[in-house]
């Protein structure tokens, strides 16, 4: 765990959970910034300044950006949260860069999720293959269901998860979901974005929700109305550092 020493886009101090190997690092963080602030508007790319990392540059990894949006109707409230994935890389030992895109500048404040492995290239060896393990996703009465491509790859210090939601029992569509991920190690605590789901107000990016993972249980309450719209296939893609 470490804290940022600064940034160029007006965010406060950012806390990272980390695993740093000799030739790659895994970082987890969630933070918010306001795209109307002058620092953000002046910068060409988002830079987060950090204490020395083990690597002095990296190839590109994906981080997620999300906005929160509610509409209040006479018949009730609707959620139109959305977001997408951004490119991110380590520029030098002390700088993490996130590409700047104007897509959501009108939708702030914006949330960034870093659930990312930053690799280096030309490291004298090929990719080390992982062992894929399917995850058994258990809910009471099996109200929430997942696709075949719901799995993890477990390492000593971190885990990669890919979750793909496939359906929910109608009565639970707006309920708090609590899913036990049977094979997931218990030492993972993180907020992760759930990408996808139809978003009537923002069809260009689709929906983006948030889930919390702790002690093998994934919880999620707030989701776009079109979460299970046909072919919108909500998913989670995250490299998560173990405690």
């Amino acid at each position: 765990m470490f804290n940022s020493t600064g940034n160029n886009f007006g965010a406060g101090q950012i806390t990272f959970k980390d695993y740093q190997a000799e030739n790659y690092v895994v970082l987890n963080s969630k933070f918010t910034f306001d795209p109307t602030n002058a620092d953000y508007q002046a910068c060409d790319q988002l830079e987060i300044y950090v204490p020395d990392l083990t690597i002095d540059r990296s190839a590109v990894g994906g981080v997620f950006i999300r906005f929160v949006e509610d509409y209040h109707y006479s018949w009730g409230d609707s959620v139109y949260d959305g977001g997408t994935v951004l490119k991110s890389w380590i520029k030098d030992k002390n700088t993490i860069v996130i590409e700047k895109q104007p897509w959501f500048d009108e939708n702030g404040p914006l949330i960034i999720y870093i659930v990312t492995l930053y690799p280096q290239l030309n490291q004298g060896g090929n990719t080390i293959k992982s062992t894929m393990q399917r995850l058994t996703m258990t809910t009471e009465g099996n109200y929430l269901r997942f696709d075949y491509e719901t799995f993890m790859c477990e390492f000593e210090h971190w885990v990669f998860i890919h979750l793909k939601f496939s359906g929910v029992t109608y009565a639970y569509r707006e309920a708090l979901w609590e899913v036990t991920m049977e094979q997931l190690p218990a030492d993972i605590t993180a907020d992760v974005p759930i990408c996808g789901g139809g978003n009537q107000m923002h069809p260009n990016c689709d929906g983006m929700a948030e889930a919390h993972i702790e002690n093998k249980v994934l919880t999620s309450q707030r989701r776009v109305m079109g979460f299970f719209d046909t072919a919108h296939d909500p998913f989670v893609y995250a490299f998560l550092v173990r405690d």
Partner: protein, 348 residues
Amino acid sequence: MQALPSIAFGGFSGSAKGVTARQVAGRTILSVRAWPTGATTNAQVARRASMSKISKSWKLLTNEQMQEWDRLAEHTSGQSAFGQKAELSGMNLYIRLNVNRAMAGESLLSSAPDSTAACPNLIYEQVAITPEMVVIAGIKHESSPYKLVLKMSASQSAGISNGWGKTVIITPGMEDDWGEADVTKLYFKTIGVEPVVGEKVFIEAYWLDTSTGFAGQPIQEYAFVTGDSPYQRRVKATMDNLDPNEESHVSSLDVDFSTGAPVAEFNAMCLGHSNVASSEVYLDQQLPADVIGTGVCLGRGNGADGKIIPQSYLVYIRNYGGKAEMTFAHRGGYYVIPTECFGSGIIY
């Protein structure tokens, strides 16, 4: 027989039999008339035109700018073959730095740069030259604004001990690719012929600070051309590796397996095909067995329709019939094309 004053001693100037003596700042400089050793390259023509243009632009500077250059020149040493510092005028320095910058594609610098910080020396591990490959490897990376300038000769007889005068610019400023400068294509394009096994290729290389135009100390090296090289290119799949006899469904491709970590680095602009949510890539050679498997990566819509929808992809990597195939198969998120797949992803 001609009776001429000797030009071998100080105080003389003039030419005799192709040797010229001149007095510069109290020093006698002897030079042998140089003759071109080969056809003029396009790069040489461009460089001479650039130098002429830059020389003329000196007169367009303000007095203050000229004085800045003069002041900087006072603190800057020119090259000397005799171990003595040669004096540089402001105009000389202006031309020298701007020619370097122009070579690297930078615009004209009217004001003298503030910094005269020395460029780092080029540090590398090996040069590998075969008739099919020209690579400098193990380069200690220097980040922007430094760029690598590389001059090489056509392969020369093994008996030639000094062939650096025959080098031409192979690249006027490139970034190393993770410690590797694979200039095979550039070499063949510039030199025009393959290096010959058993002969020598002469090399001159240095870092150029593209922000100031200052160049680092050049390394001069030669390498014998070998039939095979112990140097192994890292395992990648790029557009250069596509099988020309098959239809691939990507407009760009750069999948790099050289991480030595539990991920590969994916880059592909997937175009889709035949109304199925996948893009096929056919390579002209097999991939090593240890990278055959299933990858996972992220994607983001990248079409003219403005869709930037995040998606996940499985990447099926397999060898078949002596070649390799990769299928970027859409899984999570709403499928749109084109989609740019990028970033680190595991392989299982």
